[in-house]
Symmetry: C2
Subunit: 358 residues, 2 copies
């Protein structure tokens, strides 16, 4: 019951110092102390300095609950990511958090486990907590979430994609364009027998877009990917391995395998080697994300590098502006980068001309 007290060195607890205490010591009104803190410009410099001294002397810190109650702002941002276990999300979240704390905001983090129902729940819980803004990942979110956003008017931004449904602004890359470029790169190398490994989930529109990019580039080149040339997999190394084995069992002539994430690609490379296939000589493999490991595996992985930290910072800046009522862009398109390493090369000579094996 000794609400908001501070235990002093001897264990006794004294009450938290409040604005009134500072006011009394400094011989001013609480209102002035509040002004010193919130609108320093409108108070006489000498008085302001004096008050400031007492604030630091008494080590007064405003009660955030009272402040929030009065002002309606919690100075708090929420982020809902599919999982923290992916280095790529972690990097954005760290950048987001760092940028926010520079501006006096604190970050709530929730994870949805790639489940739209959980995402909605977490969103509701954040809104109930009076969150000032929300960061989401990807553009597929279900109608309920979108109406929740509209009804509450909370500023929301979605990340890793270049556009999201329902008028939600986005910051990220053009996933489809990126894999299209990757595919064109492989086509340029002379590949004609492709396979794709994708972690498709209803809530994962990044992967969906990446797969679309592959198929689009291929069909523009007159190549149609059969259903069995596209393997769905959960996002893990083990699934990447399994997917590659299945793909090469069904289509042994495949010379290029495009994966929608590095994790899948690295799993696929491991399995290829285990099957006695040299990468890239027998089969070229590509990833997406450019995680730390991608450059370190053997052979180093050809992949798409995405500006994860920049996405986090950009999301922070967007929300801070939106909350302050400043004008904000509809969405922000960031550049990705095709990083060519050693997991890709031209196909074995015999395969360069489409010579269908019987």
């Amino acid at each position: 019951m000794d609400k908001k007290s501070i235990a002093d060195p001897k264990g006794r607890s004294r009450p938290r110092v409040k604005i009134e205490d500072v006011a009394r010591e400094a011989n001013v009104s609480p209102a002035t102390v509040s002004r010193v803190l919130n609108h320093p410009g409108i108070v006489r410099p000498e008085l302001r300095d004096k008050v400031m001294r007492f604030i630091t002397d008494l080590s007064y810190t405003p009660d955030s609950a009272a402040r929030a109650l009065k002002s309606g702002r919690m100075r708090t941002i929420g982020a809902i990511v599919p999982t923290l276990g992916l280095g790529i999300f972690a990097e954005s979240v760290e950048a987001l958090q760092n940028r926010l704390s520079e501006s006096g905001y604190t970050l709530f983090i929730a994870n949805s486990q790639y489940d739209q129902r959980r995402e909605l729940q977490e969103m509701q819980s954040l809104i109930e907590r009076g969150i000032d803004g929300i960061v989401l990942v990807g553009g597929s979110h279900g109608r309920e979430l979108r109406t929740l956003v509209e009804q509450t008017g909370v500023p929301v931004i979605t990340t890793y994609v270049s556009k999201a449904g329902g008028g939600i602004p986005a910051i990220g890359i053009d996933n489809e364009r990126a894999t299209r470029e990757m595919t064109e790169f492989l086509l340029g190398l002379g590949h004609v027998r492709f396979g794709a490994i994708a972690n498709i989930l209803p809530s994962n529109d990044r992967s969906r877009a990446r797969l679309d990019g592959i198929q689009r580039a291929l069909s523009e080149a007159g190549i149609r990917l059969q259903p069995t040339q596209v393997i769905r997999a959960d996002h893990s190394l083990a699934q990447g391995r399994k997917a590659l084995r299945q793909l090469l069992t069904d289509h042994p002539a495949t010379t290029a395998v495009i994966c929608t994430t590095d994790t899948l690609a690295i799993g696929a490379m491991t399995e290829a080697r285990k099957m006695g296939l040299s990468v890239p000589r027998a089969v070229s493999i590509t990833g997406f994300d450019d995680v730390e490991l991608a450059a370190q595996v053997d052979p180093p992985l050809t992949t798409i590098s995405i500006p994860a930290a920049e996405i986090g910072r950009g999301a922070a800046d967007y929300l801070i502006s939106a909350i302050a009522g400043r004008p904000v862009p509809k969405s922000v398109l960031l550049p990705y980068r095709l990083v060519v390493r050693s997991s890709t090369t031209s196909p074995p000579k015999a395969d360069r001309l489409p010579k269908r094996p019987r």
Copy 2:
């Protein structure tokens, strides 16, 4: 200025529904509504149900700021981790978050970048926000942080270690014992020429303890590790590679390399292969953490598996109990597990007997 309002479908904004609105509709006093929410047991069942109906009908949600102001509890926990980029932390944090949200708590996450000053700053900022409890990683935290904890009386628990300084309770494993066991395992295999790769930082007592365990087991076996047999490295694959190269350049006869994390070990394995050394035939390499990748690399890595999710859940349970004033354990020791895979074997015959090369 339309504080806490909700934009209705047409864009007009109506005020947030509050406890008084529910009370009026239900023909009861605000106090009753509050009681229904906070102490359902003490209100007559029929009345309670009736009020509940209005609460859901009006979709009333208590204002958390007002609630916090009045009750002194924010229903919020903070976690300060060195970095989110490590899968092993991410796993604990997710488990922590999931357990907390089951109990109506929300999680603030901050990252310290392995910097004690930043950790202190984040801690202060969390405390100013009226956080109810804090999760830390590791046991080395600087005096200032410890006095802050004592003075404010905020419940704190530290994770991944079995004991922390300054009377802060801990939940985790015995890092030193784990590497001692690992070292004894390698000794049992017949190794006598060891090397260690450790990511030592002042703030990282886990690594310190792990290194101590190695040295202790070795010295009990009559083997002394020379300074050049212990390579310090930052925590990255690239540094693991570099460290291995240096170690084997200075001590080419080394047959066993113990690393304090899987990341370092995997980097070391990559480099060993590049140097033309077979793992484990020429050199055995071990890790620590048992990340997903450890089982997937070639050869699969012998390592120590730590119960990351359990640490997260345990930390949540601890804090929830502590906040509720229930009795809590001084600290919790969790079991680790030595996972023997294929990156370790007996040393080449010639090396089994300590036969010093000139």
